[in-house]
């Protein structure tokens, strides 16, 4: 089986963004995932978001663990930095990279196995530390690479392709992120780019730990009638609490809005998250009520999507530990080792 490279030819109207790239310039290698995999749609959404944000590809570091989802960074942003880490250990490598060079934009890509099973501890800690990153979980509820066993996010009672029911309680990564202190939490569906692309844009501009749990159907093992992560099930049970539009700082807001209440969330960098409420009572600024809301709906079998929580006062790890503004990897020997006189002074102050 050969995978034909996507031809370089493109539509005559294909536009360039402010930094001179077309959307095609943000692509990577051809995907070798199964045809119809939701992960490929998420890759396409990341490509679209990065193009719209005018991000220079060399300013992005994409990190992943192991699994179908963790293969995907090969399929987008072919000119960015990449690190395919050990299974479930992407958060620590990302944390380290972020500490060494705070000037890159960090994009962690993981799956339900990588984040909710082997890497659950790492997932929790990277969020409570507030590492500035966008953490995308491509969540399909099965172990696709090992032929479709239930993963830790599979819903209780949902059925495997062979009809076996799952007895274990699912881990809801969005709820866990709410508990662990992430400051930007979204949930979306790979089949709804209109929702997903603005969520990714908002997350990449968010100055703190941003998590997006994306339900991404596994065509090969989890797209049947007993599944709760199939295209049909998610479309039928999708409860979007809001619609997000993201406006970078420099953009004038010209979009007209129809019915429904609109709230603007201004982030540190001046960018604006404009939310059109679809559920009138839902407040994405209230972490505690968000937890209850998500859980209540989950109990009814509904998948709550949209921007679930955002803290517009978010701060990140570097602020918390008060590092210098400059990237640590750019500090010179003189700054890192200021000499014995300074050491003496410090020692003296601690006596």
């Amino acid at each position: 089986m050969t995978y034909l490279a996507k031809p370089r030819l493109h539509h005559p109207t294909l536009a360039k963004n402010r930094v001179g790239y077309t959307r095609r310039d943000y692509e990577g290698k051809i995907s070798t995932l199964c045809a119809g995999c939701g992960h490929d749609s998420i890759s396409a959404a990341i490509i679209q978001a990065c193009w719209e944000l005018d991000i220079e590809p060399h300013r992005v570091a994409k990190l992943s663990g192991i699994g179908c989802s963790s293969k995907t960074p090969d399929y987008f942003l072919g000119n960015s930095h990449g690190f395919n880490t050990v299974h479930g250990r992407m958060p620590s490598v990302l944390t380290g990279a972020n500490l060494a060079n705070r000037e890159l934009i960090y994009l962690g890509v993981s799956g339900d196995g990588d984040s909710a099973s082997i890497g659950l501890g790492q997932f929790a800690h990277v969020l409570r530390r507030g590492v500035n990153m966008t953490y995308i979980v491509e969540n399909n509820g099965v172990y696709g690479l090992t032929k479709g066993q239930f993963s830790a996010t599979a819903d209780k009672g949902s059925k495997s392709k062979r009809g076996l029911a799952n007895n274990d309680t699912p881990i809801d990564l969005a709820s866990l992120a709410l508990v662990m202190g992430a400051t930007y939490i979204g949930r979306s569906f790979s089949g709804d780019k209109a929702q997903l692309v603005p969520l990714i844009r908002g997350a990449m501009a968010h100055p703190g730990a941003a998590v997006i749990d994306v339900v991404s159907p596994c065509i090969a093992f989890n797209n049947h009638s007993g599944s709760t992560k199939s295209y049909d099930y998610v479309r039928e049970h999708n409860e979007a609490v809001n619609r997000l539009d993201f406006f970078p700082q420099r953009e004038e807001i010209t979009t007209e809005y129809g019915e429904g209440e609109v709230i603007d969330v201004r982030q540190h960098d001046g960018s604006i998250l404009r939310l059109r409420k679809l559920h009138a009572e839902y407040d994405p600024g209230d972490r505690v009520r968000a937890m209850a809301y998500v859980q209540e709906h989950a109990a009814r079998g509904e998948v709550v999507t949209g921007l679930l929580y955002v803290d517009n006062e978010a701060c990140d790890l570097h602020q918390q530990i008060n590092t210098v503004d400059q990237a640590l990897n750019a500090l010179s020997a003189a700054e890192l080792c200021p000499g014995s006189a300074v050491l003496e002074k410090i020692n003296a102050s601690l006596r």
Binding site: M1, L4, L9, H11, T13, A35, S190, I219
Partner: protein
């Protein structure tokens, strides 16, 4: 929009831009694949069935297919926006490759009819239109007699196209294939009365006598210097027959069409050293094909524009040159062109001889005006554009004789249609009812990511046909200047073809709306969206569908209530949508479209006998398994395989 009905033959036919643009609807991608596979004889036969003169057309066709070629819409611009990036596949010259490298194909041609059917058809003129009628009708048992004032068959292909573009052997070979079908050529018998011809008891008469009269220029000095001023097409004929073998050193060719280009290039080969073309219009508005202008300029012939001939100058009847008024081209709001004098002093160019190639006309002095054939005010016969029938039911016209000067491929198309009309008429059927084309849609899938066609998209630029060294080429008017592609170049050029006949066929019932096809499509041709009217839809697709001459393929409503909309405009037919489709909702299916030719298949009464299996499509990887459905028989009565 309403869902697209892909069972209408024209829908997918239109997607094959080259075939749609070709008057004879030759299945271009089909023969290009065969050329890439080195199956030249089969490629030749695909052409021969459709256009009768592959070797001739492969050198001389006006190539309406090439401006239509999708490749010219999808290639990148060069970084500076100029250059030759957006170029069609060299379809015409690939056709020549099939003719040059084929084996002896005579055993593949139809046999002369074993039994005549008792019907007699006369064709006037032995050019491409008449020969096509003869080829279509003779194997069916019709007795076809072709009359021509010249001894040999070929018409303008032999008399007006210079031999350095079209060698005599090629004409002999391809007119020979037609005459060998039992067609009688009465060469040297100029028909001087249609009435008399009808009186000889023919069941139908086809007039393919061309547009044999060159326009003259009635300006001062024309009569006095007549000995050095020649009408282009007459002069070319005289060169073709070897009556004219030299020309003066300084030659002016008047006119901007392809005949003018042939005149100037012939002059260069017969002793003309200072040859120039002088044209009334601007360079862009010239009627000559761009490549013919290019070829002339390559041979050191300047083209001077915006000069209107005013007078020939002479001394006592000896031509000394011509004077021209300088003009500029202006267009009014209706786009009508006018030539406005600039007021500058007239220009004079010295010369020894002038060739006048400013257009040609039909001429029917041999058709009696009282026998019922009506003519319009331009002197053209009134001819039905579909049936080619004149106002006398059993007299048909085709080629340049029908609607004025066109080209060879149009003459062939007319010939096919006239043959269908004659066949239906003589079988007592209404000839206004036309036979449907033969179509077939066959899946190309062999396995996962394996197709019966080469779906990788070549990034090569259009290749140039190698030319003979200019000095050698100019020495002899019979030496062919183009060398043609060799098999390696032909393969490379053939691989640029996008296989537009391999259609993207969508089955809405299978679609799960996973977006995979939309995400992978390199040209952003696929969208899933709520339906709307066409103008609205065109604006809100993945990429705007700006070319309204290219259709939108709209599906039935899908599960989410949306529809799939595909803009056919710039689709590469790379099949990635089908490769990435998890449910087989997309499939790549080869659409074969063949015009129905004269014979039982074109008649209501006659069912077509099945044909042997056509040549299997080339595959670089492995032979296709026997998964193909047999396609319906194409052209009945023509043993193509």
């Amino acid at each position: 929009m309403r869902p697209t009905d892909i069972s209408v033959p024209d829908y997918f036919h239109k997607v094959v831009d080259c075939q749609w643009a070709c008057p004879a609807h030759t299945p271009v991608p089909e023969y290009i694949r065969l050329i890439a596979a080195g199956r030249y004889s089969e490629a030749y036969m695909v052409n021969w069935v459709s256009n009768v003169f592959p070797g001739i057309l492969g050198r001389t066709c006006d190539r309406p297919c090439e401006p239509a070629c999708r490749r010219g819409r999808v290639e990148d611009e060069t970084p500076d926006g100029h250059g030759e990036r957006k170029a069609p596949v060299a379809i015409c010259r690939l056709k020549r490759v099939a003719a040059d490298y084929k084996e002896d194909i005579r055993h593949l041609l139809p046999l002369p009819a074993a039994q005549k059917n008792g019907r007699r058809i006369a064709c006037v003129g032995a050019g491409p239109a008449s020969l096509t009628v003869a080829r279509d009708l003779a194997p069916l048992g019709y007795e076809v007699v072709i009359y021509d004032g010249d001894a040999l068959a070929g018409g303008m292909m032999r008399t007006q196209i210079p031999k350095f573009r079209l060698p005599e052997e090629v004409i002999d070979e391809e007119t020979g294939y037609v005459l060998d079908l039992g067609v009688e050529l009465r060469g040297g018998q100029y028909v001087s009365s249609l009435k008399n011809l009808l009186g000889e008891g023919y069941d139908a008469i086809f007039v393919g006598s061309g547009a044999p009269r060159g326009h003259d220029l009635d300006i001062p000095g024309r009569k006095e210097a007549a000995k050095s001023i020649h009408l282009g097409i007459d002069w070319l004929a005289s060169v073709a027959f070897g009556h004219t073998t030299s020309i003066g050193k300084r030659v002016i060719v008047l006119g901007g069409g392809n005949t003018a280009m042939d005149c100037c290039r012939s002059s260069r080969r017969l002793g003309g050293e200072d040859v120039k073309v002088i044209v009334r219009s601007g360079f862009e508005q010239m009627k000559a094909s761009p490549w013919e202008k290019e070829d002339a300029m390559h041979e050191g012939i300047p083209i001077l524009n915006n000069l209107v001939p005013k007078a020939f100058t002479h001394i006592g009847g000896r031509l000394t040159g011509a004077t021209f008024e300088k003009v500029r081209v202006e267009f009014d709001e209706n786009g009508r062109r006018s030539l406005v004098p600039t007021g500058e002093p007239d220009a004079h160019f010295d010369c020894d001889e002038v060739l006048v190639a400013v257009g040609q006309d039909n001429s029917f002095p041999w058709i009696e005006r009282d026998m019922g054939i009506e003519f319009d005010k331009w002197g053209l016969p009134k001819v039905d554009e579909t049936t080619m029938q004149s106002t006398v039911p059993n007299v048909f016209f085709g080629g340049d004789a029908a609607f004025g000067p066109k080209n060879i491929i149009w003459a062939v198309a007319h010939g096919h249609q006239a043959a269908v009309s004659i066949d239906r008429m003589l079988n007592g059927e209404d000839l206004n009812e036309r036979p449907a084309p033969q179509t077939a849609l066959v899946s190309q899938k062999m396995g996962i990511h394996q197709w019966m066609y080469d779906n990788a998209i070549s990034g090569d630029r259009r290749l140039r046909v190698p030319l003979r060294d200019l000095n050698a080429a100019l020495k002899n008017i019979k030496i062919e200047v183009e060398l043609g592609f060799d098999p390696q170049l032909a393969f490379k050029e053939a691989q640029r073809c996008l296989n537009c006949d391999v259609q993207t066929v969508f089955a809405p019932k299978l679609c799960i709306e996973c977006d995979a096809c939309m995400d992978i499509c390199p040209m952003d041709s696929i969208s899933f969206t709520v339906n709307g009217d066409e103008d609205d839809l065109r604006q809100r697709l993945s990429a705007p569908a700006l070319d309204k001459s290219q259709d939108l393929y709209v599906s039935d409503s899908l599960k989410t209530g949306r529809v799939m909309v595909k803009d056919e405009d710039v689709c590469l037919h790379c099949g990635l949508c089908a490769e990435r489709c998890p449910t087989g909702a997309w499939d790549m299916q080869k659409f074969l479209f063949e015009t129905t030719y004269a014979g039982p298949g074109c008649r209501n009464a006659g069912a077509a006998p099945p044909l042997p299996e056509p040549p299997s499509p080339p595959s670089s990887e492995q032979k296709p398994k026997a998964r193909r459905k047999p396609r319906p028989a194409p052209a009945p009565d023509q043993q193509t395989a």
